[in-house]
Symmetry: C2
Subunit: 325 residues, 2 copies
């Protein structure tokens, strides 16, 4: 079964990794958010793309979820000593990725080409695609003004209250080569448990997938294609469990936008985009309400603490899709 997954950073990478364990390379494509890419210290950094690739390659730091395992921090320590901006931590092994990517971009290579080459070098066999080769920049509109995503997320530690989001460049950015085809040809699209506002919405916007997060969902027959989607099922896995996020500011963002954070809120956010929804056992009591949004519902353990958890959840998602087809 051909699946195309949409993913942001750590949570999305975990499910993508689980899917990669049970699907052959030709059956899984992962489209990754690049809205939180930024230039820092003269280097072009793609946090979500790197997290997904490192995770698939088995190179990721298992404690943090981001960055590299067995990392050293000598460049960073010396950058601090020289008074360089030090709010974004870059490990020594990780730095190589940014240095070589920046060098290749300046040579005129596209982010897609570079990602393909890097995946090959890292032994990643499944296809990882950036959502676009053109810059898209997620801006977090806060009560303290507009903040580029990493400024909000890392430098300001998600403290400023959120008022909204915009994705600069999203309307003119071309979807990266292969993304449209991957969506059209997939039997199912899986929206990984990433932040709906800042990890998944930029992908939906760039790929011109109908996005109406604040409208109530309209009923949609299972499997009906619309917009840029293919004809397959479309399933999201909730990043919110028991009203909280495992990692990151998704729950805080829902709250600050006046929406009670819950799996139900996530289901409503995607609304008519979805034909199915996967949420944690903790939230079993929301099952009927989500069903009322015209989605099939799978209730299972969605907290991925081990590699087994990732594979288990991936298997259940795949089975859930099979039943829906």
């Amino acid at each position: 079964m051909r699946i195309t997954a949409l993913a942001g950073g750590v949570g999305g990478a975990k499910l993508a990794h689980g899917l990669a364990q049970i699907l052959p390379p030709e059956d899984l494509t992962i489209i990754v958010n690049t809205g939180d890419d930024f230039e820092h210290l003269g280097l072009y950094i793609c946090p979500d793309l790197d997290t997904v690739c490192y995770t698939l390659a088995g190179l990721a730091n298992p404690q943090t979820g981001w960055g590299r395992a067995n990392e050293t921090w000598n460049a960073m320590a010396n950058l601090k000593r020289l008074g360089a901006p030090d709010w974004f931590n870059l490990g020594d092994s990780d730095l190589a990725t940014h240095i070589e990517r920046t060098r290749r971009l300046k040579e005129g290579q596209t982010l897609s080409q570079i990602t393909r080459d890097f995946c090959k070098a890292w032994g990643v066999k499944h296809t990882v695609l950036p959502m676009s080769d053109q810059p898209v920049r997620t801006i977090v509109e806060t009560e303290e003004g507009d903040l580029p995503f990493q400024e909000y997320f890392v430098h300001r530690k998600c403290e400023p209250r959120v008022k909204g989001f915009r994705f600069e460049g999203a309307d003119v950015a071309e979807p990266a080569p292969g993304t449209r085809e991957a969506l059209q040809s997939a039997e199912a699209v899986v929206i990984c448990p990433s932040n709906p506002w800042v990890s998944i919405d930029p992908i939906l916007r760039v790929l011109s997938l109908t996005l109406s997060p604040l409208r109530p969902p309209s009923p949609l027959p299972l499997g009906e294609g619309k917009g840029g989607w293919g004809e397959g099922v479309r399933v999201a896995v909730s990043p919110i469990i028991g009203g909280q996020t495992v990692k990151g500011p998704a729950a805080k963002m829902f709250s600050e936008l006046g929406i009670e954070p819950s799996a139900l809120a996530v289901a409503k956010h995607y609304g008519a985009l979805l034909t199915g929804f996967v949420m944690d056992e903790t939230d079993a009591q929301l099952r009927e309400e989500v069903r009322g949004l015209n989605m099939r519902v799978l209730v299972t353990n969605t907290l991925m603490q081990s590699l087994d958890d990732r594979m288990q959840l991936a298997s259940e998602v795949v089975n859930f899709i099979r039943e829906a087809i």
Copy 2:
């Protein structure tokens, strides 16, 4: 006694370090070659400047003379894995220097300002000046064509036969702030045991100091000022001992240009620029010939294998200068 030293990489850095041990910060300025600076992997790298600063700061790798002590190589290993150009080794701690320097240059800071800030951060108290804030590029003219210096030196391991040198940009590059003043106000200028052709000549050229390496020297009274020099004595320490260089291609370059490599050849190279010359005991038999070039001569141990050697040679050079004043 105020001394201004001209230095290239490892050998020059050693003597500069010795001088810094025995002279207070206000009495020593070191002007460093930047003709072998280059851009690599998108980073602006100043090999000689970094070698001098790391050495003065006690941060240099004592085995290689270049790079940092206790260095790790994780970025480099990962750059290789990604297929990046890997002929120029960059350690993790060292990388911080290049990343932050490149960032500041792009912000519009000058190499002089950056070097001053870095020296402060590293605890270097003596003044280190790049020869210029504008780019000067040493090109090695070889039988295989023109090669930028690092391409010749590191990538091609000095193998191509040398036909000549040129210093692109040297005629329009302004001497860095403080360099002219340091030369004018110094009681003595010390040309460190660096490569005359590619480490010292670029400095002489940029500072418009009379440079006539291939002409026979004309007699010059001791202490007479000329060109951009001050009125003080001018002493060079031979980088060639017993017809060989301790490190680097200076002897090979003399040979390939048809000049028998020796301390005498170095003395002739600088010729009338010098009022004094320091050479190794191994070359004592050349003493009278060098004296015939109208220079005072100091014969001593010039091989610097330990910190004590550096300080010992620096002391003898300072005493030699005192006698000449």
